[in-house]
Amino acid sequence: MTLPSRSIVPISEVVHETPSTVTLRFAWAPAARPGQFVMVWIPGDDELPMSLSYPNGPMGGVTVKAMGATSRAIQTLRPGDRIGIRGPYGRPFDLTPRRVLVVAGGSGAAVLAPAAESARAAGHAVDVALGAVTASELLFRGRFERMGASTEVATDDGSAGRPGFVTPLAERLLEEHPYDAVWTCGPEVMMRRVADLADRHHVPVICSVERQMKCALGLCDACALGPLHVCVDGPVLPWESLRGLEEFGRSFRDPAGRRRAYGSAPP
């Protein structure tokens, strides 16, 4: 048993992707696959799981949306500031499907963009349904377009694309095209809805799931989701293994391990 150890790396680049989202690039070559995540330590503050938005090449990267104290603190980091990285952890996307529908809500695009990029690089077709609260918050819209994915958007406030949630957009695309797979990441209620739709079209769905994480090593049980541990069995999970879990989309575990219902605020 040899566990990969931690690296302390300086941030080489900070990219402000949207008003609430930054990408940190660092000279740490993750040798990871799209869908895998790392534990990012902000010394003096907390350590959080983050999907690698740039999983390959000499410069790793994560893309972080301001949520609570730590993810907001991350927005203020500058090049040269040092962070700790350990990983990569978890299971990646299976990149074999030849025609993929990507459904991204909020910061979900952080993990779906590199997966879509790899699919495109393999010559596969990718359609993207990208949602956000408002036009300026549409994450990686340009990146999806540049990789040659047909990209449609939806915003809650109607400031770009289809007004409202991204799910109706996904529904239309599912009706119009025959997909081999749907990849989705976003609030669990959204992913549940997407999965129901895809089910109706008999398209397999892969979700990237978030849970409280402490060890990321499959030990502490913080990330338990039914019998699964998101840090090792996920975060990328097929809908088949989620479908039967009444917790998925409905409740999560707080840091004490208590089960709590998802509130009205989007998680």
């Binding site: 048993m1 040899t2 566990l3 990969p4 150890s5 931690r6 302390i8 534990m39 330590w41 010394p43 003096g44 503050d45 907390d46 350590e47 959080l48 040092r82 700790g84 350990r86 402490k214 060890c215 990321a216 090593l217 499959g218 030990l219 502490c220 049980d221 913080a222 338990a224 039914g226 019998p227 541990h229 090792v232 575990r253 707080d254 840091p255 004490a256 391990g257 208590r258 089960r259």
Partner: protein, 327 residues
Amino acid sequence: MADLTVELAGVPLRNPLLLASGIWGETGASMAAAYAAGAGGVVTKSIGAEPRSGYPNPTVEPLGPVGLLNAMGLPNPGIDEYPAEIEVARASGAPVIGSIFAAAPREFAALARRMAGTGVVALELNLSCPHAHGYGSEIGSDPRRVERIVRSVVAAVDLPVLAKITPNTADPAGLARAAERGGAHAISAINTVRALGIDVTLARPILAHGLGGLSGPAIKPVGLACVWQIFEAVRIPIVGIGGIASADDALEYLLAGARAVQIGTALSGPGVALFGTIARDLASRLDALGIDRWEEAVGRAHGRPPSSAVQQAPARLRRPSKPRRAP
């Protein structure tokens, strides 16, 4: 095929491999999965009177082949909500040992009563977590407090009580004897070894809590020494813990004096499937060693001179028995 069943303080187990406290033990589904994968039983996460979030991250630091450093800070849902998890675990058929922590004898007893009401087969008292102020080894390294706590719990409940002791002591056997005097039905040894990791570039401890506990391969020899010394000091059974990752590791503990073992850190990677693997390997290893039943070999390494002689020798240096020469 060798017989792996074992009776631990009156509790029958299909095999001696238990899930260690704090590993996969916060939720019922995880404990059920460990049992389904082949564990002989499970120990819950240490549960307190109140919910606790534990320390902020980083709570763990992987140390390569040496093992794992952690300071979780005893996160747990608290005894009010936890019975629902035990319910799920028990539904799988798993013998569940309920681990509890508190600060004083009376609190331990009150918590023990509530834990006993959940249908667990035994209690394990966490007297040994090395990094929670006011709990664990802070109280568990004083033999008198250990004795008092164990006594109050034993008086409060009608279940076997396991006292989990710390390796961070001059005298693990003394702690075990204290627990035995208090009426403990078994000793669990060991919890993690007090440890620290510092990041050199940042000039600060890595774990948010600073000090933590070491588990995994590094502490197997430490746990074995504790079990060895405790075996010579008490008559109650011992549950060996620390760095077990294979059937041979479990056998080392068996021969040192453990009647059952717990597995924690080694599950990182293989997951609970490791229980099935070790159980299978164990049976064939015992066959190869000519041991019919796991139980019959408990403490066998004590049985032969010179090792046992050395152990029982008066407290002065033993010179090698034969003269030596240079070549």
